[in-house]
């Protein structure tokens, strides 16, 4: 852009942005929003987008089409919203290219809003037969602060963000002294959303007080916790919110240079960040003399290279410096000596997005949400065996039951609830007795889990808890950087035991050994990766003790997951002697013949389950059991003539 715009004041930028937003929001043309975040795309949003554009062109309809971020109802992706001038926006779910074409014909051309396909209306006014979008059970209990723009604005259009109040928090901070900014954040009660929940204002104060002309600010967008996607959604749907938070943090601590450390597995988030940063430069929101205030700051993107431990702050700094991403002991804390030995402040994506809104709307406004010690809202990623998967935002202090049942709709496929895992590999597995616990930092920690970054995974009766614990240990063991022995050796030893137990070779004393190892790893590890790695095992031992005992003593896996502990039997009263399983068995463990009841030779069987998969459902002749013997003939006998 030209110099003229470089010299614009923030007020001038705002009015320019408002003009553009009004033209979009009050347009006399229809508007079509296609949810095209990673989740939408994986469900086919780009094909839908193509159809929408083709149909509009074919029919000569003049409409605005925008790709937006995720509004959170991932289970109904692809989502498409249509607004006709003067009408509320209507949101449609599970839209295929065919449905999209149909909607254009029915609603845009023939003015039938198709209530049968609609999820809800957004904005002023009503449409007969269509409920309000935010009245839906998944949305009603939510308080959307961080996610307020996701799915609603064009994430690559900085004017949309600015017109809705964006960067006014930063503009405000330019009028404040750093101490005042820090005080405001302290008053908001904001705690770090990256997992540990450290008070953000206090962290900034440390870094602000560190002396040095060069300081660094890092936005931690590594989001390595498998099963979590909150940060991805915010970066894809509203990147400027995070970048505004970075500007404010930089002002407060006196940073000159910023990094966004984002994992390479998030290509779309990286692309959106790159675009957003270049738009900021167009408006002189980055550079040597930001908004003519004399404040200088720039932001560089660093792509992660696939190492979970690099989400840990000291490892992350090593990685930015181009080294192996290994943590180091603290102190010195990053606020004293961080990147290149300079004072450094690291905050999570969501923390920074909250900072922006706190400066925009004030600490008191923010602090009215949440509990005494856990203020504000938190985003959570609902996944696993839950009916309504997606991204939600709720005030802290809400119960797990409200999240899982009211918002998430309960367990998918009418199965029985077994466990809920919060905090990923560093967190714990809680059972049904914990469902009424309020979700806040302290309560979850007391129960042996952690809030973590916000992944909530529901497991049902088909999940074996011991195998679940083994799964987490496999992850932490593989991701242990190897620098300290308790974590490197300890996680391996724990994993060995869990592997044995799930393979049916558990021994007396294994449980005690797991406890001992867990304590040593927890207390002796250099960083929190090791320090928290035993959590999934400790919580499952505590709340699902019986399942461990059952594996070790009875060699039984009641979820029928552990391969070596299950057996397959062919039921003589159901088998029709069709030979399908016999032909498909990869190890030739099935005896039989045409119209002869087949028999599994248990000594040859490798428990692969192929016979169960291929047995025609109308026969249903293969039984899968654990810790149980079904009496069947030892040799093939003729299929009973009555059939």
């Amino acid at each position: 852009m030209n110099r003229l715009e470089d010299a614009m004041t923030f007020e001038e930028i705002q009015s320019l942005a408002k003009v553009e937003w009004e033209a979009f929001d009050r347009s006399d043309r229809p508007r079509i929003l296609v949810g095209a975040a990673t989740c939408g795309r994986s469900a086919g949003a780009l094909d839908v987008l193509q159809t929408v554009n083709d149909e509009l062109a074919r029919r000569g309809i003049d409409a605005t089409v925008v790709q937006v971020g995720c509004i959170g109802l991932c289970y109904l992706e692809p989502l498409v919203d249509i607004t006709k001038p003067g009408r509320p926006r209507i949101c449609y779910g599970n839209v295929t290219p065919e449905i999209a074409a149909q909607l254009i014909e029915d609603y845009l051309v023939n003015d039938n809003p198709r209530p049968d396909l609609a999820l809800g209306t957004i904005g002023e006014g009503a449409v007969e037969g269509i409920p309000g979008f935010f009245e839906q059970p998944m949305l009603k209990p939510q308080v959307r602060i961080i996610l307020r723009h996701c799915g609603t604005i064009d994430p690559v259009n900085i004017n949309h963000y600015i017109a809705l109040g964006g960067y006014s928090g930063f503009a405000q901070s330019l009028k404040m002294r750093p101490e005042e900014i820090i005080e405001e954040i302290k008053r908001s009660g904001l705690r770090g959303r990256g997992g540990a929940g450290f008070p953000t204002g206090l962290k900034w104060e440390f870094c602000h007080r560190s002396t040095g002309s060069e300081k660094y600010l890092v936005c931690n967008a590594d989001e390595g916790d498998p099963g979590a996607f909150m940060n991805r959604s915010v970066l894809e749907g509203d990147p400027h919110a995070v970048l505004e938070g970075m500007l404010i943090a930089a002002r407060a601590i006196g940073a000159t240079h910023g990094y966004v450390y984002c994992r390479a597995e998030y290509p779309l988030a990286l692309e959106r960040l790159r675009i957003a940063i270049s738009r900021m430069k167009d408006y002189a929101l980055l550079g040597e003399d930001i908004l003519g205030s004399g404040f200088a700051f720039d932001i560089e993107i660093k792509e992660g290279a696939g190492a979970f431990v690099c989400g840990e702050e000291t490892a992350l700094m090593a990685s930015i410096e181009g080294q192996r991403g290994m943590p180091r002991p603290r102190p010195p804390f990053p606020a004293q000596a961080g990147i290149w030995g300079k004072p450094t402040n690291i905050n999570n994506v969501e923390t920074l997005a909250a900072v922006a809104v706190i400066l925009q709307r004030g600490a008191d406004w923010y602090a009215q949400h949440g509990t005494e010690s856990s203020k504000g809202t938190k985003t959570f990623a609902l996944a696993g065996k839950i009916r309504r998967t997606g991204l939600i935002e709720v005030p802290l202090g809400i119960t797990l039951r409200e999240i899982i049942y009211d918002i998430g709709g309960g367990v998918a496929d009418d199965k029985q609830f077994k466990a809920v895992q919060t905090g990923g590999p560093s967190g714990g597995c809680l059972s049904s007795e914990h469902l009424d616990l309020p979700v806040d930092y302290e309560t979850l920690a007391q129960a042996g889990s952690i809030m973590g970054s916000g992944g909530i995974i529901v497991a049902d009766e088909d999940t074996c808890i011991v195998d679940f614990a083994r799964f987490f240990l496999t992850f932490t063991q593989a991701e242990s950087c190897g620098k300290c022995a308790p974590c490197r050796v300890g996680t391996r030893k724990m994993l060995d035991i869990l592997e044995r137990v799930t393979q049916g070779e558990g021994r007396d004393g294994d449980i005690d050994k797991l406890h001992q190892l867990a304590e040593t790893i927890r207390d002796g590890s250099l960083c929190a990766l090791g320090g928290t790695a035993p959590n999934p095992v400790l919580t499952t031992l505590r709340y699902f003790h019986g399942e461990y005992e059952e594996h070790i003593k009875d060699k039984r896996c009641s979820a029928l997951v552990c391969k070596n502990l299950v057996s397959y039997y062919i039921l003589p009263d159901k088998c029709q002697g069709c030979m399908i399983c016999l032909r498909n068995c990869p190890v030739g463990a099935i005896k039989g013949g045409k119209r002869l009841v087949h028999v599994v030779d248990q000594s040859k069987c490798t428990h692969c389950g192929t016979c169960l998969d291929v047995c025609p459902p109308r026969f249903g002749a293969v039984a899968k059991v654990s810790g149980q013997r079904i009496e069947v003939p030892e040799e093939p006998i003729p299929v009973s003539p009555s059939k």
Partner: protein
Amino acid sequence: MNEELAEVLAPYRGRRGSLIPILQAVQAKLGYLPEEAVAEIAQFLAISKSEVFGVATFYSQFRFTKPGRHTVKVCLGTSCYVRGVSQIMSALEQTLGIEAGQTTPDLKFNLERVACFGCCALSPIIVVDDTVCSRVTPEKAKQAISSYE
């Protein structure tokens, strides 16, 4: 120096902390990090080859053998685990005749594990090249790779 490489390296001259971005750029260009490239990078940054290897081997993104023409990544994250991704991995291993981490002998496919694509709400997830396939079943997974040459 190899011209192709020189072009990739040039923008990083004199910039601190650029080893990882360089490795990423070189791998994006060549598909992997051949030993000669590692030597060139070491020379360019005036550090030893073992330092470059030390960093490169730490991160799972980097590979040192020629990859197949297509990459099939299977998510082994928590949500995908709970939703039964292990069966999908077995189905793919069986169909391709290789184990995770290997390349088919005809250099057509790599099979890789990834710990979460952030698409957990629609798990299980596999990604073939850049296409994300959601709510995959063993059948759908086999079908997804059948159209690649």
